[in-house]
Amino acid sequence: MHPVRRQRLYVVLFIALFSSAAIGLVIYAMRGNINLFYPPAEVVAGKAPVDQSIRVGGMVVKGSVQRATDSLQVNFQLTDFQASVPVVYTGILPDLFAEGQGAVASGRLNGDGVLEATEILAKHDENYMPPEVADALENSGYDQKGKPQ
């Protein structure tokens, strides 16, 4: 074989080996680190797995936000107007988190059907709605402001 061609073969082999190692790493990292999104109706219907990292999004039910007086614990409910999921979160909520607004909570569902959230994502400007929440609301026949369509 021509030396240049042989060298090219080795380079390709090296890249192939390295890429397969990287793909292995990607698959390994993917296993535990992707979170499925569930609308509240599916969570209440028992379709969401318990004690696995998931995300639930919807509107924060008006009047449902309760803050503990002695810690940073917050309880509230997320709804898609078909069903509501209780959420508990300890920590500081984002500025744009508010009752009657869209939010996405990620965390684990416990045995009592309460989502123990580790992160709350609220919208970042007045008109923005996380696409999943918009879809979930639309599926239950409501628009982004929470009004029936």
Binding site: V4, F18, M30, R67, L72, N127
Partner: protein
Amino acid sequence: MIPEIGHFALIIALCLALILALVPAWGAWRGNSVAMALAPSLAIGLLVFVGISFICLTTAFLQDDFSVKLVASHSNSLLPSIYKFAAVWGNHEGSLLLWALILALWTAAVALFSSQLPLLVLSRVLSVMGGISVGFLSFSLITSNPFARLLPAAPADGSDLNPLLQDPGLIIHPPLLYMGYVGFSVAFAFAIAALLGGRLDASWARWSRPWTNIAWAFLSLGIMLGSWWAYYELGWGGWWFWDPVENASFMPWLAGTALIHSLAATEKRGLFKSWTVLLAIFTFSLSLLGTFLVRSGVLTSVHAFATDPARGMFILVFLAIVVGGSLTLYAFRAPAVSSRVSFGWVSRESLLLCNNVVFLVATLTVLFGTLFPLIVDALGLGKVSVGPPYFNAVFVPLMALLVPLMGLGPVSRWKRDAVERWRGELAIPAVVAVLCGITLPLLHAPYNIWVALAVLLSSWLVLGLARDLWQRLRSASSAGQGLARLTPGYCGMLIAHLGFAACVVGIVATSQYSVEHDLKMSPGDSRVLAGYEFRFVEVVQVRGPNFVADEARFEVTRDGVPVASMGPQKRRYLASGSVMTEAAIDAGLFRDLYVAMGEPVGSSGAWAMRLHFKPLVRWMWLGAILMALGAFTAALDKRYRRQREVIHSSGEAVLRGA
């Protein structure tokens, strides 16, 4: 009137861009030198008209012309002037106009500073850039006209700029980021011109290199500012979230890093030619993909703002044309530009090859993680998100693999080197690096193995650079003369690699050593964090130009010695009524203290507070600044500017022959 002038200027700019895209390219094809010679003046005309349009929009913002829809929805008469100016690009339409302006700026810069280029190449390059301008200007005019009016019902006042964007970091972050994003269009245009001409040699790489370096430097600064802004403005002390929009700017950076290194091999040794061209196409395509991700709102992101699906469609089609077209051209012409040069396994070429493989794989894994939710959604398998753990798990090992090779890079030789020589050169640096890795983390208890590893790797990198520098200086008659003999290209490499080392140490140390507490505090309470005592004195009401705020007063002491007074705020903006956290940061080279307010807890005047201690967090941003500085320095190298006559004549001859 002024907005109409702006609109009209934008339409003229689109016409000029169309002519620029077609006429010089036709001239290059038919050998018509009159048509080719039009390219530079058209490029400058394009800049003038996009510039007029941009100035008109800025004027509308500064004069509070609320009959313009964009101004009405993104500005307010109470907004300080500097933020009225920044509000021009604090929204979709305006940021697109800024993008078009910066593209016109780069096009005109190529036209002005490339007198050493053969006319044939220059006209092709400018035509390609004109084509990209056509895409963005028509996008702006068709789907997101910044000059749309609200007549006759103009509101009395505007609904204010999103408070998150009312910040000095946001005044310069988008322009810098776009300078980087758009700057890669120059490398892309050079690559396409080379494919069209079928000629790709050392002088091609020499023309592309400074442009690529400068674009990369701007992108580094833009990303660094974005990270810094997120750190102090979003109020939760994080500096990188692996958010789709961050990834959108990070992917072109990674691919651009690979491009810079493969261009070095192409220029010095005529290697990896077709690969370099492919990388240039890939890098710019990632810039466009980033624009698509940010502007279409298809992904859930902390950065996402309200969007319109028609816009996403437009960019997607544009992206498909650019990527599809350039890859088709590549498939036809790449064999014409491929190289037949061999190199030894132990050589600088091999190391650069490894660099390219690592950076490309890193880009692809980030790309995969970013697009995975879209793919799953498109297949109807549900809605998933890929979290930071995925990115950390794949990205950190890749970078850890890279640094040992980076230590070898500077001392290695082109063509053929010997392991024995490397061993001789680097035995002492290796021993010292191991010592540093073992001893330096002792300064901070408890001992942390990851920090030790980071210190080991980065001191290996720094000492490898130092060894090579010492070798160069030793051969000179005096140190001063030795320094004077160093080329800007070499100094740039030195500075940028040092910056990378600082970044590695900063990221690992701040990730491992940070102490973060979210807690409830009442006035009078104090809390000790990493040896610093934070005393919450009181909450006072303060008033800003367009907001009112609760400000918490903190006194921080260490062993009884006052360190800082900090005043984090919870602001309520008057026009929009939105609430915003303004964190207080006491910055230092070795540690940051960070206090942010949550919300009131209970009725006794207590607040949720976020207290952070972040060691070495500044090193990460300083490192990024050094990297950018290095790339700028390297772009100053004299060899990019000389030999214009020689290249001109011989270039023409070769082109005619091809």
